[in-house]
C-alpha cells in the first residue's frame, strides 16, 4: 500500500516469472532502482543485466522475443525511451515484437537527479510509434495489475513507472482492463482525465471542487495508447469541459491524445495541465510536482476558469 509503482512492477514481474517460464527480464545497470532486480533474484537464469547499453538491451530483447520469449526491458524512462528510441522503433515496433519496455523514474517526481534524468517526453515519443501500447499506472495496485496484463498482452508496450511513493487509490481486488479507461468518479460539470500519480490528485481536486459547488468527474486513463475514445466522448458529451493532467510534458502526452480524440469525436474546451515544454530541475520529487503545478490546487483553479 502507498508504495511506488516501480516497487509493484518488480514484484509483479517476479510473479509473472513464476507463472510463465518464457518471461525474461533485462536491465541496463539500474536493476536495483527499476526493481527488475526483484525478478532477477527470483529467476537469475532468466535475468540479463546488459550493462550501461540501452540500445543493445532493446535489440537483445527483440531477439529474445523472436524466439517466443516475453522480455521486459527496464531502465530509467529517459534512457530506455530516449537513448534507445530508434531500436524500439526499428527492432521492436516495426516488426511488432512482444517486448515491454519499462521506464522508471519518469517525470519530475524522479527528483534530485535533475533534468538529465527526468523523462518529460517519453509518453509522447512512445505514443508516436505504430503498434505501441502505452500504459501509465495510477498506483501500486494498478502497476501490479498492469504488469501482469502486459505479460499476457502480445505486442510492443511501454510501461511508465515512478520513483516516488504515492497514495494507493485502488482496492486489492481491483480488476484492470488494459483497453478501457476507468471512470473513478461521476460528475456533471467538468471531467478531469489523469494518469499516473496525478490520479489521486485529480480525486483530491474533485473533493475540493465538490465543496465549492463544482461537480467534477474523474477518469483514470491508464492506457494512453490505444486510448479509450468511447469513454472520452461520453465524458465530453456529459460535462462539456475537460481538463487533463499528467506528470510529463504537455507536448504529445495524455493531454494531446485526449485533445486529438475529442477534436474529431466531440469538440469541447480542453485544458491541459503538465510540464510546460521545459526540462526539469533538481529538488525533492514531491516538491517538484508542486513546483510544476502538478497538484489538486492547479486542477481546482483551471476548473473554476472553465466553469465559472
Amino acid at each position: 500500500m502507498n508504495s511506488a509503482t516501480r516497487e509493484a512492477y518488480g514484484a509483479a514481474l517476479a510473479e509473472l516469472g513464476n507463472k510463465n517460464p518464457n518471461v525474461v527480464a533485462l536491465d541496463a545497470d539500474l536493476a536495483g532502482s527499476t526493481k527488475s532486480a526483484t525478478f532477477g533474484k527470483a529467476h537469475p537464469d532468466r535475468f540479463f543485466d546488459m550493462g550501461i547499453a540501452e540500445a543493445d538491451m532493446i535489440g537483445t530483447a527483440a531477439g529474445l522475443a523472436t524466439c517466443g520469449k516475453i522480455p521486459f526491458a527496464s531502465s530509467f524512462a529517459v534512457f530506455c525511451t530516449g537513448r534507445a528510441f530508434e531500436q524500439i522503433r526499428n527492432s521492436v515496433c516495426n516488426p511488432e515484437l512482444n517486448v515491454t519496455v519499462v521506464g522508471s523514474h519518469a517525470g519530475p517526481s524522479c527528483g534530485e537527479d535533475g533534468s538529465s534524468h527526468q523523462a518529460m517526453e517519453d509518453i509522447a515519443i512512445m505514443r508516436a510509434l505504430p503498434n505501441m501500447c502505452v500504459v501509465v499506472p495510477a498506483d501500486d495496485v494498478e502497476a501490479y495489475a498492469a504488469t501482469l496484463a502486459l505479460g499476457e498482452y502480445v505486442g510492443p508496450a511501454y510501461l511508465r513507472v515512478a520513483r516516488l511513493a504515492s497514495p494507493t487509490i485502488h482496492d486489492e481486488d481491483y480488476e484492470f482492463d488494459l483497453l478501457r479507461g476507468d471512470l473513478l468518479r461521476e460528475g456533471d460539470d467538468v471531467t478531469v482525465v489523469a494518469c499516473g500519480m496525478m490520479v489521486p490528485r485529480a480525486l483530491e481536486a474533485a473533493d475540493q471542487l465538490a465543496e465549492q459547488g463544482i461537480s467534477a468527474q474523474v477518469v483514470n486513463m491508464h492506457t494512453i495508447k490505444p486510448i479509450d475514445g468511447e469513454l472520452l466522448e461520453a465524458c465530453a458529451r456529459k460535462t462539456g469541459k475537460v481538463i487533463t493532467i499528467e506528470e510529463g510534458s504537455i507536448v504529445g502526452g495524455l493531454g494531446t491524445a485526449v485533445a486529438e480524440v475529442l477534436s474529431e469525436r466531440y469538440p469541447v474546451p480542453v485544458r491541459r495541465i503538465g510540464v510546460n515544454d521545459v526540462f526539469g530541475t533538481s529538488g525533492p520529487g514531491a516538491a517538484l510536482l508542486d513546483y510544476y503545478g502538478l497538484n489538486a490546487e492547479h486542477i481546482v483553479k483551471v476548473a473554476h476558469e472553465l466553469c465559472d
Binding site: 532468466r46 540479463f48 550493462g51 537483445t60 527483440a62 523472436t66 516488426p95
Partner: protein, 277 residues
C-alpha cells in the same frame, strides 16, 4: 559443402542484378560482396525448413547490413522459401519483398533489419533464447564494415562475449567501401580482427571472402569453438562478379539500368565468370 554452390552463387548474382534493375533502386555493391557468405550459410550450413519457416529449432540468420536484402532474398528463393518469380517484385508496393528485410512479410526472414548496427544485438537475443531453452541452433549475423562504425555493434560485441554466446557466429563483410567513400576516408574501421579479439571473441579471418571452400571451413571451425562467440572477418570485393561494379563505391546504392543489367548478366553467365569452375 553443397556441390553446386558455385552455380548457386552465380544464380544469386544474376537474380540480384535482375531484381535491382527491375526495381530501379537498391544496393548492388554490398549485395554482391555478401553473396558467397550468405550462399555458404543457406546451402551448406543452416538447418532450416522452407516448408516450416518458423520451425523453433532452426538456425537463425540476421542480416545486420539489411541493404544487402537482394542477396538474402535470392538465397531464400533458391532455398525454396518462396518462388523465384517473386524476386522481380522487390521494392514494389504490395510486395512481400521490402527494400530492407521484413520478418512479418517474407517467409524465412528471421528479423527485420535495415537500420545499421542493430542486428548483432538481436542475434545475441536469439542465441540467449536458445541457451535458455537448451537448444542447439546457431545464430548467424552478417554485418557490413561500415556498419561496425555504429556504437551498438560494440555494445553487442561486449554482451556476446560476456554471456559466452558460442552459438553465435558473426561475419564482417569487409569490402572497404561505404556510401560516402572508402572506410579509410570516412571512418577507419581497421584493424577489425584485433578489435573483436580485444572484446573477447574468437576471430577467424578469410583472406578471400568469395572463396567458397574457405568460407565453408571457417564456419565449420567456428562451430567447433566453445565458450566464446566467433566473428569471421571476410575480405571481400564490393560489386563482386560484375566487372564494372567491382570496387566502385558508386555502385553502393544505385541500381543498374536495363542495358547495364544485360551486360552484367552476360558476365555472370560467361564461362570464365567469377565463381565459375
Amino acid at each position: 559443402m553443397h556441390e553446386d554452390l558455385a552455380a548457386i552463387t552465380r544464380r544469386m548474382r544474376a537474380h540480384i542484378v535482375a531484381m535491382l534493375a527491375e526495381a530501379g533502386s537498391g544496393h548492388p555493391g554490398g549485395s554482391l560482396s555478401a553473396t558467397d557468405i550468405i550462399a555458404t550459410l543457406y546451402f551448406s550450413h543452416m538447418n532450416v525448413d522452407p516448408n516450416n519457416p518458423d520451425w523453433e529449432d532452426r538456425d537463425r540468420f540476421v542480416l545486420g547490413k539489411g541493404h544487402a536484402a537482394p542477396a538474402l532474398y535470392a538465397a531464400l528463393a533458391l532455398r525454396g522459401f518462396f518462388p523465384e518469380e517473386d524476386l522481380l517484385t522487390v521494392r514494389k508496393i504490395g510486395s512481400h519483398l521490402q527494400g530492407h528485410p521484413c520478418m512479418n512479410t517474407t517467409p524465412g526472414v528471421d528479423m527485420s533489419t535495415g537500420s545499421l548496427g542493430q542486428g548483432l544485438s538481436v542475434a545475441n537475443g536469439m542465441a540467449l533464447a536458445g541457451r535458455i531453452d537448451h537448444k542447439d541452433y546457431y545464430v548467424y549475423c552478417v554485418m557490413g564494415d561500415g556498419e561496425i562504425q555504429e556504437g551498438q555493434v560494440w555494445e553487442a560485441a561486449m554482451s556476446a562475449a560476456h554471456y559466452g554466446l558460442d552459438h553465435l557466429i558473426a561475419f564482417v563483410d569487409h569490402n572497404g567501401l561505404q556510401i560516402d567513400g572508402s572506410n579509410d576516408d570516412v571512418m577507419r574501421v581497421t584493424p577489425i580482427a584485433q578489435k573483436f579479439r580485444a572484446f573477447g571473441w574468437n576471430v577467424l579471418e578469410v583472406a578471400d571472402g568469395h572463396d567458397l571452400q574457405a568460407l565453408d571451413e571457417a564456419v565449420a571451425q567456428a562451430k567447433r569453438n566453445e565458450g566464446t562467440p566467433t566473428v569471421i572477418v571476410c575480405e571481400t570485393v564490393k560489386g563482386k562478379g560484375v566487372s564494372f561494379m567491382e570496387n566502385e563505391v558508386d555502385w553502393h546504392g544505385v541500381a543498374p539500368t536495363k542495358e547495364q543489367a544485360k551486360a552484367a548478366l552476360a558476365e555472370i553467365e560467361a564461362p570464365d565468370a567469377p565463381g565459375k569452375e
